[in-house]
């Protein structure tokens, strides 16, 4: 434990006891002088005690065993009854200090007997303040002593002992000496700690001696929650396999105490399907199973229930429906109606031109295709999932299709693809109506419209699974069409619809494209990304091979193009968060053409360690960025993003990464500076921290237009779905500042749309469940967009603006919707406030601060936590996010 950083002040007994030893030892450096001095001003009482103790010491040296025993027992009595404040050494210990050496000498001379053990016990306690550092005499004498109740000597003694044990354990491990006696002691200490609200210390000790399994025996119903919360939060700071081990124990404990939702969340963190199944089979309460399904749905996990998990066919179907997210649209619209934001918004409502002075507001008489395209995206982002808007859909009574058609054709060429696809975004998650409304575009003669319709089908199905597999049925026949835009539409649509599903049919359909030497590079890139999304974090060998071959076969000149750089990303997504599993592939990538080699290496590393908080990897990336090259090297962009991807896991690493990125801004080359805003965006996605906002605002006026564009888009990303007034104001000013610069203005518009994403009901954060779980598909979607933004001009500002729709993968309602036992929305009062870190704190501390009471459904901002403000119901999940089923509390008595 002492090797890893200390997560909070109460943790880590090892380091703590060391610290105390140090403080106590300060006076012992020059004991005589001080003691002499003190002798003079000792009170009478103390003097008596001192003389008494001196007498005991003399008697211990006596030859008579009986006398010795009496003396020792009296001495023990004195020590045990002594009380003292935190800052000073108990008086008996202080007075006995000069005699420690004498007693030690005496002990050596004594024959083995009970008395000798008694003396060993006392020496063990005295060693607490006396023994030189590293000697571990306290432990030594403890092992020689009577092995009695360890707690009888007090808490501090136990802590000190624990510290010495971990040192001794390390030493014995290296010498391969037996550790049985130590483990016996550990048992005692752990039992003591667990009984006395010191779970973190018990956990730390067990981690030091690498025997966490012991913990399971000692937890009980009063302390398992605190124990597990300490285990799960410390997992983020542990290296290598230890973190998995720790979470494994947490899972075991949760299962032991039937805390299934938490067990499920832990199982999801471990990405262990077996454990997930176990949770389902262990629990026989149908309602609780429904809650599990909601948790799985939020995580975007593809999961098939079998008869073992739910025997009844009809019930299983209903559970599967929840996992398939079929009710997400309904819940989201319930929230929207409750908050009264159903009214569709136009892009003008977002731009708010009336707040700007004169010139920028003057509407041009001629349509600008670029600005119309921006409006298409803004309209799609703002009205995402609401099933209605003012450009693409028209009310059913006026279903002539006139308005919809006209807006579609107010976009130019490839812009029409994005416009048609935007209908999918507006009808997000509502598969039935979405497919019906998109149908008309399938019969168009315009290839761009068809491409957009295909993409729209993918967007509508994003995160939703349907037993009929409409997306696959519709899109499959288009992936081998001649027209590249139709192909890309179908391929990207499949990627969005089946992200994370590991659907073999899709693999079989898409992998041949990678081997097709006639396919253009852009088709290839989208295929690789889609395969990466469908098989995200799966380490699938077959697909990895296919992408590697595609990269090797392409001629050198193509490898320098922007789209070639998306192929390694597809490869990286296969290993998202899988750490060492990437190594074999990373080795192969070293044989690539030098144009892409470094880039591929960075991409693979950053994907594999995404969300792990691995400090060594962050340092590795920083090292890569510190190099200066004459010509802009493309691999440094992914390296900068890699810092963010790895460090985004936990708060401390995140803050450090933000600071490091500031340095890169100052000292980095231009290609690094362009990536920094994007890295900041990933670190603070949908979480507008003021310092980051200021940095980005500054960069949005940068003289390098690419830095400015990245900063503007990043402003949108950090404010995504927050309606943050400050960012909205900044962007409005930027829109008038850049009103002549079409490219920058386009970025500003996109950012404005993002800030008002889903009218402020959505978040892009891949983290959920109190920032514990990371949704791999959401992260994959974000990373894909950020990679595309590394070369803004070629991709987003070129013909491939629909790459922005990859954000759909990360879009989730940031809500708490409580439902009753029939899964109907139920309004209850809840307190919503800033979450407080209570890990390792004793008692029942407040978990939120600065709260307000609302009735559900409510919105949760980044870092917010909710708790029920009524006793009438009990939630079936400890994490109040997304859908939570409430059960009536049988013990509840109404006051009236």
């Amino acid at each position: 434990m002492s090797k890893t950083p200390d997560p909070n002040s109460t943790g880590a007994s090892g380091s703590k006891s060391n610290r105390e030893e140090a403080t106590i030892k300060v006076p012992s450096k020059d004991p005589k002088k001080k003691d002499d001095k003190k002798d003079e001003d000792l009170s009478e009482e103390d003097l008596a005690l001192k003389q008494q103790l001196e007498l005991y010491v003399e008697r211990v040296q006596d030859a008579d065993a009986g006398l010795q025993k009496v003396a020792l027992e009296s001495m023990r009595q004195e020590i045990r009854t002594a009380t003292s404040s935190m800052t000073s050494v108990p008086k008996p210990l202080k007075f006995l200090r000069p005699h420690y050496g004498t007693l030690k000498g005496n002990y050596e001379k004594m024959p083995d007997s009970d008395v000798k053990k008694l003396l060993a016990d006392i020496l063990s306690v005295l060693a607490l303040t006396m023994s030189a550092e590293g000697e571990r005499e306290s432990l030594k004498y403890r092992l020689l002593g009577s092995q009695g109740d360890i707690g009888s000597w007090g808490h501090e003694y136990v802590r000190n002992l624990a510290g010495e044990i971990s040192q001794e354990y390390g030493k014995r491990q290296s010498e391969e000496a037996p550790i049985d006696d130590l483990m016996e002691l550990v048992q005692q200490i752990v039992a003591f700690h667990m009984k006395h609200n010191a779970e973190p210390e018990a956990v730390d000790l067990l981690m030091e001696v690498e025997d966490l399994d012991l913990l399971v025996e000692h937890v009980d119903s009063t302390n398992y929650k605190r124990t597990c919360s300490y285990l799960t939060s410390s997992a983020k700071y542990l290296p290598g396999p230890d973190d998995m081990l720790v979470l494994d124990i947490a899972y075991t404990i949760y299962m032991k105490f039937e805390e299934y939702p938490s067990a499920l969340v832990t199982a999801l963190y471990l990405d262990n399907t077996q454990y997930v199944k176990q949770v389902f089979t262990s629990c026989d309460d149908l309602l609780r199973k429904k809650q599990f399904c909601y948790i799985l749905a939020r995580h975007g996990q593809t999961f098939e229930l079998d008869t073992e998990m739910c025997a009844e066919d009809e019930e299983r179907e209903r559970l599967q429906e929840i996992i398939n997210n079929t009710k997400l649209s309904e819940g989201y619209l319930t929230l929207a109606r409750d908050i009264e934001v159903m009214e569709a918004k136009t892009p003008e409502d977002i731009y708010k031109p009336h707040l700007l002075d004169g010139r920028a507001s003057a509407g041009a008489s001629v349509d600008s295709a670029r600005q119309n395209l921006a409006s298409t995206f803004v309209n799609a982002f703002v009205n995402a999932g609401f099933s209605q808007d003012k450009l693409m859909t028209v009310p059913s009574e006026a279903s002539s299709g006139a308005a919809s058609t006209s807006w579609l054709f107010k976009n130019k060429e490839h812009g029409k693809a994005s416009a048609a696809a935007s209908l999918g975004m507006i009808l997000l998650w509502d598969v039935d109506s979405g497919l019906a409304q998109l149908d008309k575009y399938f019969h168009s003669t315009d290839t761009h419209v068809i491409a957009g319709a295909l993409l729209g089908v993918g967007i509508v199905n994003c995160g939703i699974k349907n037993e009929c597999d409409p997306a696959l049925a519709l899109l499959a026949e288009y992936i081998d069409k001649e027209d590249p835009s139709i192909r890309i539409g179908a391929i990207m649509g499949l990627g969005l619809a089946y992200a994370g599903s590991q659907n073999e049919q899709i693999r079989d359909k898409l992998t041949p494209i990678l081997g097709d030497s006639k396919a253009s590079l852009d088709v290839l890139a989208f295929t690789a990304i889609s395969l990466g999304l469908v098989y995200v974090g799966s380490c699938n060998e077959e697909i990895a091979q296919a992408i590697i071959f595609a990269l090797m076969e392409r001629i050198e000149s193509e490898l320098g193009e922007p789209f070639a750089r998306l192929l390694p990303l597809g490869l990286g997504l296969l290993y998202l968060g899988k750490q060492e599993s990437v190594e074999a592939t990373a080795e192969v990538s070293k044989t690539f053409n030098e144009k892409i080699r470094k880039h591929c290496d960075m991409t693979l590393l950053s994907c594999a360690y995404a969300g792990t908080g691995n400090v060594l990897k962050v340092q590795h990336f920083l090292g890569q960025c510190a190099q200066h090259f004459e010509k802009g090297e493309t691999f440094q962009g992914p390296a900068v993003l890699g810092i963010a991807m790895v460090a985004m896991a936990e708060e401390l690493g995140l803050e450090m990464a933000i600071r490091s990125l500031e340095h890169l801004l100052q000292y980095g080359e231009q290609n690094i500076r362009r990536a920094v805003p994007l890295a900041l965006a990933l670190l603070c996605i949908s979480n507008p921290k003021v310092n980051v906002m200021d940095t980005l605002s500054r960069l949005s006026h940068d003289s390098d237009s690419e830095v400015a564009m990245a900063a503007i888009v990043s402003l949108g990303l950090i404010g995504a779905g927050t309606n943050n007034a400050r960012i909205a104001g900044m962007l409005r000013n930027l829109s008038s500042y850049y009103y002549k610069e079409a490219n920058l203005l386009f970025c500003v518009r996109i950012a404005q749309g993002l800030v008002h994403l889903g009218k402020g009901l959505l978040t892009l954060s891949p983290y959920h469940s109190e920032h514990f779980l990371l949704s791999p598909t959401a992260l994959a979607g974000l990373v894909t967009l950020l990679y595309a933004c590394l070369d803004m001009k070629a991709i987003v500002l070129g013909k491939y603006h629909y790459i922005l729709y990859f954000l759909t993968l990360a879009m989730q309602p940031r809500m708490l919707l409580t439902v009753d036992e029939n899964l109907k929305p139920l309004s209850v009062p809840v307190r919503v406030g800033q979450a407080v870190d209570v890990v390792g704190q004793a008692g029942r501390p407040k978990t939120i601060t600065g709260f307000q009471t609302h009735s559900t459904p409510v919105l949760l901002a980044a870092g917010d936590r909710a708790e029920l403000a009524t006793e009438k119901y009990t939630p079936l999940s400890p994490i109040l996010e997304g859908f939570v089923i409430l059960k009536e509390n049988p013990d509840y008595r109404d006051d009236q």
Partner: protein
């Protein structure tokens, strides 16, 4: 429903032997159908009875989901091609078969697929996609985007800025305010370069005929007694404003006399010359600029003179003209005076009958345009008489004023006030036209923070000869 049935006959031509009942099910001959009752009560078919196992099972009941609706019991005759099934669905949903997309395992259901290979199961839920909506058609004429246009048309200003880079000056990212007079001069210059009268052989240009003012300059050095004359053509008269100038006429007069210093060949050093200008040729339209902006050296900026300078609605430039020109003008002026006298006579002598048609026109015009009769008269006559018979009189009528509001040359607001054909004045404030009274036009003479005249445009009063 009747419509559907009729259409379905058309679309099911190859299968015309099947009749479709109103519930959307195809009736079958009893030999094919093992359970004739099941058709009536609409229940899913029970699993095959062992009793009639010899008859091939051809009916499968599925539920079909279309949009938000579910059709719970739809029977499929798996011995028939799926097209028949689609026709059934057409009856239920109104979606034409060719627009139906039915999702089955492994893709969409093809019209000619084999049901046994598709593998539908009893009670399976199928999903159908498709609408009877109108198919999206591109508008005949697509919108025109800024990006499509040739660069020059995107903004008119772009051309101006390209031709005269001085108008493209920027400060703080925005284009700076420019001088209206400078712009006017440049426009006239450009026009004079490109517009030539096709008839005139010697290249007499239109702009010069319309706006050009010919000057006779006499440069005289008091010290050496040297004297020289030259002619020059300018496009506007300058009204210099100083302490003594209260009226346009005074300003113009002062503008004709100027002192300049130049090297004198006889003295061998620079000497003060006096330049005395006289107008030798008058234009059809006289442009007058009030020199209100000047470079203030001490504050290093373009300052504006706010002094009030009156200008008349009709201007006589006779005393600015050279003797030559005066002689030429005498005749027409006399005619004009006579005409006016006559008119005055008409007015005084009540109920004298109007003699000529031209005169009657004059009075009509006068009546209609209340007080601006002279200008209207000339307009009226222009239409009647050929060009060459017009003679300038040296008298001009005000037809347009360009005003500037604001304290400096780099800021403020330019507004045009223009007299219309009907004699009414209209103020053009950006894209916002406002009707104005004639008496208010003379109040734009400055002296405050209100709009003040910067450029005045006068139109010559002509007489027929």
């Amino acid at each position: 429903m009747v419509d559907h049935v009729t259409t379905i006959y058309q679309c099911t031509l190859p299968f015309h032997e099947y009749k479709i009942n109103s519930r959307g099910h195809l009736p079958f001959s009893t030999s094919k159908l093992s359970h004739p009752n099941s058709k009536q009560n609409q229940k899913p078919l029970p699993s095959p009875h062992p009793a009639n196992a010899e008859a091939p099972i051809t009916m499968v009941t599925v539920s079909v989901k279309w949009q938000k609706e579910v059709y719970p019991a739809v029977e499929i005759d798996i011995s028939q091609p799926p097209y028949v099934f689609k026709c059934q669905l057409y009856d239920l949903t109104g979606v034409p078969p060719e627009r139906q997309k039915i999702m089955v395992k492994g893709g969409l259901l093809k019209d000619d697929a084999d049901w046994s290979k598709v593998g539908v199961k009893e009670g399976q839920r199928l999903m159908m996609m498709g609408t009877a909506d109108e198919i999206v058609k591109a508008p005949e004429k697509g919108p025109i985007f800024v990006e499509d246009m040739p660069e020059e048309e995107q903004v008119v200003n772009v051309v101006l800025r390209k031709k005269y880079p001085q108008f493209g000056q920027q400060s703080n990212g925005a284009f700076m305010q420019q001088d209206a007079e400078e712009c006017w001069t440049q426009l006239l210059y450009t026009l004079s370069q490109s517009l030539k009268l096709p008839s005139s052989s010697e290249g007499l240009d239109v702009v010069k005929a319309l706006f050009g003012i010919e000057f006779d300059n006499r440069i005289h050095c008091a010290e050496s007694g040297e004297e020289s004359t030259e002619t020059e053509t300018v496009y506007s008269l300058k009204c210099h404003i100083s302490q003594e100038v209260n009226h346009l006429h005074e300003g113009l007069k002062r503008g004709l006399k100027s002192e300049l210093e130049k090297a004198s060949p006889s003295l061998g050093r620079s000497a003060v010359y006096v330049k005395d200008s006289r107008i030798n040729g008058l234009p059809r339209y006289l442009t007058i600029q009030f020199v209100r902006f000047f470079w203030k050296r001490e504050s290093n900026q373009k300052a504006k003179i706010l002094r009030k300078v009156d200008y008349p609605l009709s201007l006589d430039v006779y005393d600015l003209c050279s003797d030559n020109l005066r002689k030429k003008l005498e005749g027409p002026r006399q005619v004009l005076r006579d005409a006016e006298g006559k008119k005055a006579g008409l007015k005084t002598s009540v109920k004298t009958s109007v003699s000529t048609a031209g005169d009657s026109k004059m009075t009509e015009a006068e009546e209609s345009s209340s007080g601006s009769g002279e200008a209207s008269k000339s307009t009226a006559q222009e239409g009647l008489l050929p060009e060459e018979e017009h003679q300038l009189t040296g008298i001009y009528d005000l037809v347009a004023v360009l005003t500037h509001k604001g304290r400096s040359a780099d800021s403020g607001h330019y507004v045009a006030w223009v007299k219309q054909e009907n004699g009414k004045w209209v103020q053009f404030d950006d894209d916002n036209p406002i009707l104005q009274r004639e008496e208010d036009i003379t109040k734009l003479s400055g002296g405050g923070d209100w709009h003040m005249a910067y450029i005045c445009m006068y139109k010559a009063r002509v007489v027929p000869m």
